[in-house]
């Protein structure tokens, strides 16, 4: 396709500045170039290839991998409408109809004047605000077909979150402070946790982190203190070690980290700094999903403020020998980059292919150097414990699951939102706290833990949400997702949507997931939309599910059938009955 000549002089000064860092600057450079030109024409790619010394074929491969990078003419303004589970329950199909009619575009198309591109996209991490969409960088909530003209013209208030719960520790400042102000942060208890930590030796800080009983909030539930200890003990100087905050939050149903990133960004920075002190690591990274531009800007701003005030950089808070700084990175549309090793690859400027483990990140992480990678909530939970004192923290929750947890409530629920609650409440209690199911309807199913979790039926609603109880009941707490489907919801459609998500997000590295997610999608598409199940479908779905779970290379493929297989076991008629 022909296009007007590209003015490379706009790009060159940027590239001159970053060229010495090489390939790790690839995603930032592509983002920057795309902000200039709207997309990435050939000559721009060639220029970046020369500057960063990355083979042209590899640049092509990277752009092809990330859905928010374009090597075909695309408008600077992209309208992205979420098509996943919660937004589907919330009415995104009517919304899409209205947008398509008004724009005269089908998903994936760019208007003839080149001013607007329209897309249906996977979960935007705004499930509690369904149906949700992005107009360029501006998030929009609870869109109805009537609101479409204002939405498309940008005349709407930016989406604001809904957070609830008691006691609020992780969310103490959310909604109460100005997220752009370091002074406000400090006036509301900021930098107390780090000050407390700096009174101790790094060894003591790690011991205390272990005492908090905090395990990873990103899904894998690994004890956080132990992870820090391993990395501290790994060979390497502080300059060769990394603290990475995983802010890729892209699993349908999950939106908890967004609140911390957007509304309390300094807490994330302080928490990373604390970890840097404990582990003896000088390099901090926060990797934010591409669909969270607001979080990215607020974090970037907060990092600059913290650095200017001496909270990042050399000899932090006057502590001799304690150096730590943070680089904020923006993803570009790939759920798989939440997988820790795929995230490292993304920072290194590659396609987000997960690596084979072992070796583990604690010894071979980012740039194959010792790395702690933690979820946003995990990090902030540790900070909170240092703020409160471990004694106080341990009084919250249960003996085996101390503290509070963020729960993401969405779907058919009266008050969807983010709930900070101590461990130990039952699913039913939390649903009731969130106002129950609207219209006096009954709960048909609840998706627990996220797209990679499981469905439960009404008989399991009295399960207590602690690590010990959910392990017993075989329900993953995952990222704290509780998505409610009322008695009128179409569960075949829900299964189809989950299958579509995983097929879209499979990285394509290993065969079982690359091929299995596609076949799972085709079978469920047929079952949900094209005349119901064939007699063989159930067994085929179970075999594909088993094979992905058992033989896939990474957690994506290993959980891509989890919710679907759980539904088949609970409600076999969904995949056996015709029509």
């Amino acid at each position: 396709m022909s296009h007007p000549a590209v003015d490379l002089s706009l790009l060159k000064p940027y590239l001159e500045n970053v060229a010495h860092r090489g390939r790790t600057m690839l995603l930032p450079a592509l983002h920057y170039a795309q902000s200039l030109y709207g997309w990435l024409p050939r000559e721009v790619q060639v220029e970046i290839s020369h500057a960063l010394r990355v083979p042209q074929a590899d640049i092509h491969g990277v752009i092809e991998f990330y859905t928010m990078l374009y090597n075909e003419p695309t408008a600077k303004k992209v309208i992205r409408v979420c098509e996943d589970s919660a937004c589907s329950l919330g009415g995104c199909h009517e919304l899409m109809q209205a947008i398509e009619t008004q724009l005269g575009l089908r998903p994936g198309e760019t208007a003839a004047d080149g001013q607007i591109t329209y897309e249906h996209v996977p979960c935007l991490g705004m499930c509690e605000l369904a149906p949700a969409a992005l107009n360029g960088e501006r998030p929009a909530a609870n869109l109805s077909p009537d609101a479409v003209p204002a939405f498309l013209e940008g005349r709407y208030p930016e989406a604001q979150g809904n957070s609830y719960g008691e006691p609020r520790h992780l969310l103490a400042r959310v909604g109460k402070v100005d997220p752009t102000s370091l002074n406000d942060y400090r006036a509301h208890g900021g930098y107390i946790g780090l000050t407390n930590a700096l009174q101790m030796t790094p060894e003591q800080v790690i011991e205390m982190a272990e005492k908090t009983g905090i395990v990873g909030r990103g899904g894998a539930m690994f004890p956080t203190g132990r992870k820090w200890r391993f990395t501290r003990g790994a060979p390497g100087t502080p300059a060769e070690k990394h603290i990475v905050i995983n802010a890729d939050e892209s699993e349908p149903g999950t939106f908890k980290d967004r609140y911390l990133l957007e509304d309390d960004p300094f807490s994330v920075i302080e928490a990373a700094t604390l970890a840097g002190y404990a582990v003896g690591a000088e390099n901090g990274w926060i990797f934010v999903r591409g669909e969270y531009p607001r979080a990215f800007h607020r974090l970037t701003h907060a990092v600059e403020q913290a650095r200017a005030a001496g909270y990042l950089g050399r000899e932090i808070m006057g502590q001799p020998g304690f150096h730590f700084d943070i680089e904020v990175r923006l993803g570009a549309g790939a759920y798989i980059c939440g997988e820790e090793t795929a995230l490292f690859e993304a920072i290194e400027g590659k396609r987000g292919f997960p690596r084979i483990k072992p070796p583990f990140p604690t010894t071979h992480g980012l740039f194959y150097q010792p790395t702690v990678i933690n979820n946003v909530e995990t990090m902030v939970a540790v900070l909170v414990a240092f703020n409160l004192g471990v004694e106080e923290w341990l009084k919250l929750g249960t003996a085996q699951s101390p503290g509070t947890k963020l729960f993401c409530l969405s779907g058919n629920i009266a008050k969807p939102g983010l709930y900070e609650l101590p461990f130990g409440l039952t699913v039913r209690e939390i649903i009731e706290m969130a106002g129950g199911v609207p219209g006096n309807k009954k709960v048909q199913a609840v998706l627990m833990g996220g797209a990679a979790g499981v469905f439960i039926g009404p008989d399991k609603l009295d399960t207590r949400l602690t690590y010990e109880d959910t392990r017993q009941a075989n329900i993953p707490l995952g990222s704290g997702v509780i998505m409610v489907f009322d008695e009128t919801a179409d569960l075949r459609q829900a299964m189809y949507e989950l299958a579509r998500f995983f097929a879209h997000e499979s990285c394509g590295k290993c065969f079982p997931c690359q091929l299995g997610t596609q076949r799972q999608l085709e079978l469920l598409d047929h079952i949900a939309h094209n005349g119901g199940a064939k007699p063989t479908d159930k067994q085929t779905l179970l075999d594909v599910g088993f094979t992905m779970t058992e033989t896939s290379l990474c957690g994506l493929g290993q959980t891509a059938a989890s919710a679907i297989v759980s539904a088949i076991h609970l409600w076999p008629e969904l995949v056996t009955a015709e029509g």
């Binding site: 065969f511 091929l515 085709e522």
Partner: protein, 233 residues
Amino acid sequence: MSDTVTLTIDGREVTVPKEMTILDAAATIGIDIPVICYHPHLTANGLCRVCSVDAGWRVQAAACVTQVADGLKVETRSEDVCRGRKTILELLASTVNLEEAPEILALLEEYGADTERFAGSEKRTAPVYDDNPFYLRDYNQCINCWRCVQVCAEDAQYVFALSYDGRGFHTQIGTFMGDGMMDTTCVFCGQCVGACPTGALKPKRQALLEQGYDPDSIFEQTRRKRRPQNKAE
């Protein structure tokens, strides 16, 4: 610390160096674990997963990239292992043309794979690229084993002509912006053609011989293609 470990594979004890993979350890006692993507001279990436075995862990382990450990009990042909293997083979057969991949055809047979199981599902298709005088690229036969990409890059040539298009099911081997091989950094060393296990990459001469051309006309055809004035064809 000892440099060897002792483990049990299919009920038989074996003592091997501790860095060995399960795949190699099994081979020392004549147990043959099937492989597709694995090649002894290339970096193993654990892609195809047909080498998956039961090592008593949470999920199965890909034998080609998993190190042995002391006391490990490995089952290479349990019911579960065969269930996964058969399904991977069925998935593969429903996606690409395996006619010229004899090793994979033999595995389909051995594991009783039902090649019609996913009949009617989407195949991974592509045009046949005939863009250089040396080899053809028919990605309808490509299984995404990455060998060509690897030999073109760090595993051998450091030429970096090949990468990927798309992702997930729709991943295909590709070049910069889809350029023909003559416009890439390709040096026509032929390493990729030699490494390709499925006939997706095929010497042009062989392809033309198969199509019934005689050597003289093949020489004519492939020679003419090199003339610059015909490059735009």
